[in-house]
């Protein structure tokens, strides 16, 4: 992984014309006689390595510090200010913004929306994704086409996907209206009524993300040795029993990984809500993430929005910490 000192010495030796001066010594710091002479040389290699390191890794790390770490820390600071975006004056209010957030009458709605959205998109995504993966893992003709199509929406712009589904959900001339009429159901006012707007976004979210879950599950399924299934079948286990007693338990680690990653992305989703409802009607599709945007950039209360952002960050960090702890333990005991 790292360059050994012996190699560094050799590289230095080969940089100079061979035997140019006795002080430089023969290439290779391995000979004990060369030690005292090689010391300043080694220091020079070190200095040059630092220069090379700064040149190669410096820009990336500097950008991370300026645009990722600095804002993270500033966000904590902003969260303690009563400050409007673009204003030159700010008042230090300590934990005032947090107190306000926790006592705000709209907070229960935001929390409920976030939790419902999270549970449905994560739970639904795992179930649909697993089902899709089990289906596409069967030896079926043209399953490649289905796999490609199932994954395609995942790579498309959330704004575009939201827009195209808005057309399909249109209560007056949408495709879905016709389908619902065919089975004798009436179309809800998807855009403007309270539970339906959120349900609409969650359906589209699942359509866009189920293929990703399925793909990860497929990789997990293909990693299960066929021997194990054969053994279960020989012992007289029905396909269903094999699925529940052998396959699903072995998918445990994959499920855990997906649970974490899909929760993280669900909590951060923005584009679909923006394109389809803009947080409405009456704030019923405003998740915590969307609240940060609304408070910070529409209402302009940057301090309050930063407090909400910090709360979201802490939640995300706890989820990630759970994952890291689990992964560490897995590595430790395997």
């Amino acid at each position: 992984m790292s360059t050994s000192p012996a190699l560094a010495g050799a590289a230095l030796g080969s940089d100079q014309s061979p035997g140019s001066s006795p002080a430089a010594g023969p290439p290779g710091a391995t000979s004990p006689g060369a030690r005292p002479a090689a010391k300043p040389a080694r220091r020079r290699v070190k200095a040059r390595n630092v220069a090379v390191f700064l040149m190669l890794a410096g820009p990336n790390i500097a950008l991370l510090l300026v645009f990722t770490y600095r804002p993270m820390i500033l966000s904590f600071y902003y969260s303690m200010l009563q400050w409007n975006l673009g204003a030159s004056v700010a008042r230090f209010v300590g934990l005032g913004n947090y107190v306000e957030w926790f006592t705000d009458p709209r907070t229960p709605t935001v929390v409920t929306t976030t939790v419902v959205f999270g549970l449905v998109t994560v739970g639904g995504g795992l179930v649909l994704g697993l089902g899709l993966a089990l289906l596409l893992n069967q030896k079926l003709r043209a399953r490649g086409v289905a796999r490609t199509l199932a994954f395609a929406p995942y790579v498309l712009s959330g704004i575009a996907v939201g827009m195209l589904w808005l057309y399909i959900f249109n209560p007056r001339y949408g495709l879905l209206k016709v389908l619902l009429e065919n089975i004798g159901a009436t179309t809800p006012q998807w855009y403007s009524t309270t539970p339906w707007a959120l349900i609409m976004i969650m359906i589209v979210y699942l359509w866009k993300h189920a293929g990703y879950v399925a793909l990860i599950y497929l990789a997990g399924l293909q990693a299960i040795p066929q021997d194990l299934r054969d053994a279960a079948a020989l012992d007289g286990a029905s396909p269903r029993r094999t699925l529940f007693a052998v396959v699903l338990p072995l998918l445990g680690p994959v499920t855990f990984f997906l649970l974490i990653t899909t929760t993280l992305s669900s909590l951060q989703s923005f584009d679909l809500i923006r394109a389809m409802t803009d947080g409405g009607p009456l704030g019923s599709t405003t998740t915590l993430m969307y609240q940060i945007y609304v408070e910070g950039f529409q209402t302009g209360r940057a301090g309050y929005a930063s407090a909400a952002a910090t709360i979201l960050f802490v939640i995300l960090l706890i989820i990630t910490a759970i994952q890291l702890k689990y992964v560490e333990r897995k590595v430790h005991y395997s």
Binding site: M1, S2, Y173, F270
Partner: protein
């Protein structure tokens, strides 16, 4: 393997009214196998039906979008819905172009995606090389800085980054859109994983031949990493093309506006009535990525699922 070895007395089965557990199991197994064979055909019917349903659910919305982009308003609002447009005229696309400078936005998107993804890959490659092959003190710390950045969601950085970019006078500029998202913790992480799997002997040989770090990076490490570079590039291209929140915050002028932001601008200009026009713009936003995805599916999927394999 279809019958039990003769150790078990075979004639016992029909005569004994209460057959032993062993025989019971053989019989069950035999029946199961027969049933499985018989069931296979209806089972296939079920599986293919479900798969057809999946194909329809996934593809019809996209097909519907493209078809609607050619439909005149009368066709869109006609009461028994029609599938195919009367003609494949580009009227809606022309109307998009008259409502918003879609050509300019397409150019902006291409430029931002190319520069953003290209620089991201170069920065990530160089950083990962230094983290793996250049020996300096505090290298571990530098890696931890990169790794921990993976845990910081971009969403919590928007307000401080916005004030910084606004303070620099970079609102409505390409650099304001591109630079804050350039540093790639994810790409660096993947490249580092890959570099650590490279045969060290090749790079050592290059070093012995007098190749400096830069030469070793471009002539040896990069050519040995083409699949990883392709995967990270494709993920970055898709990410940059679809990026919405940050560009939406820093750009309100169509001159530098990328396509997804233009799409919500069009939504505001046209309202939610003129679906043919909206679907034409939506098609323009999705089609390039859809084509890239269909052509380079394997590489793109490898990149998008790389986190799962390493995590």
């Amino acid at each position: 393997m279809l019958t039990r070895p003769s150790g078990t007395p075979a004639p016992a089965t029909p005569n004994v009214p209460n057959p032993g557990a062993v025989l019971d199991r053989t019989e069950i197994r035999r029946r199961q196998r027969r049933r499985a064979r018989l069931r296979r055909i209806p089972m296939d019917v079920v599986l293919y039906t479900v798969m057809a349903a999946v194909v329809l659910v996934m593809s019809v919305p996209l097909i519907w979008m493209v078809l609607a982009s050619f439909k005149a308003p009368g066709e869109i609002y006609s009461v028994p819905l029609t599938w195919l447009p009367e003609s494949f005229a580009l009227t809606n696309y022309r109307e998009v172009a008259s409502a918003i400078p879609i050509g300019r936005m397409f150019f902006n998107s291409v430029l931002i995606t190319t520069l953003g993804a290209g620089l991201k890959v170069i920065l990530g490659l160089a950083c990962a090389y230094a983290l793996v092959f250049v020996d300096v003190p505090l290298k571990k710390t530098a890696f931890v800085v990169v790794l921990f950045a993976l845990l910081i969601p971009g969403q919590i950085t928007i307000i401080p980054n916005y004030t910084l970019i606004a303070g620099l006078g970079w609102l409505n500029t390409y650099q304001g859109i591109i630079i804050p998202g350039l540093a790639s913790a994810f790409g660096t992480f993947l490249f580092r994983q890959h570099f650590r799997s490279l045969p060290v002997s090749v790079l050592e040989a290059a070093e012995l031949d007098g190749a400096g770090h830069l030469r070793r990076l471009w002539r040896f490490a990069v050519p040995m990493s083409v699949p990883t570079i392709a995967a990270v590039s494709l993920v970055s291209i898709v990410g940059e093309w679809n990026e919405y929140l940050w560009p939406m915050l820093v750009v309100d002028n169509p001159t530098t506006m990328p396509l997804p932001v233009g799409l919500t601008l069009l939504q505001r200009v046209e309202g939610l009535q003129n679906w043919g026009v909206l679907m034409a713009a939506t098609t323009l936003v999705t089609l390039p990525i859809l084509v890239i995805f269909l052509v380079l599916q394997r590489r793109l999927v490898a990149g998008l699922t790389a986190g799962a394999v390493t995590g």
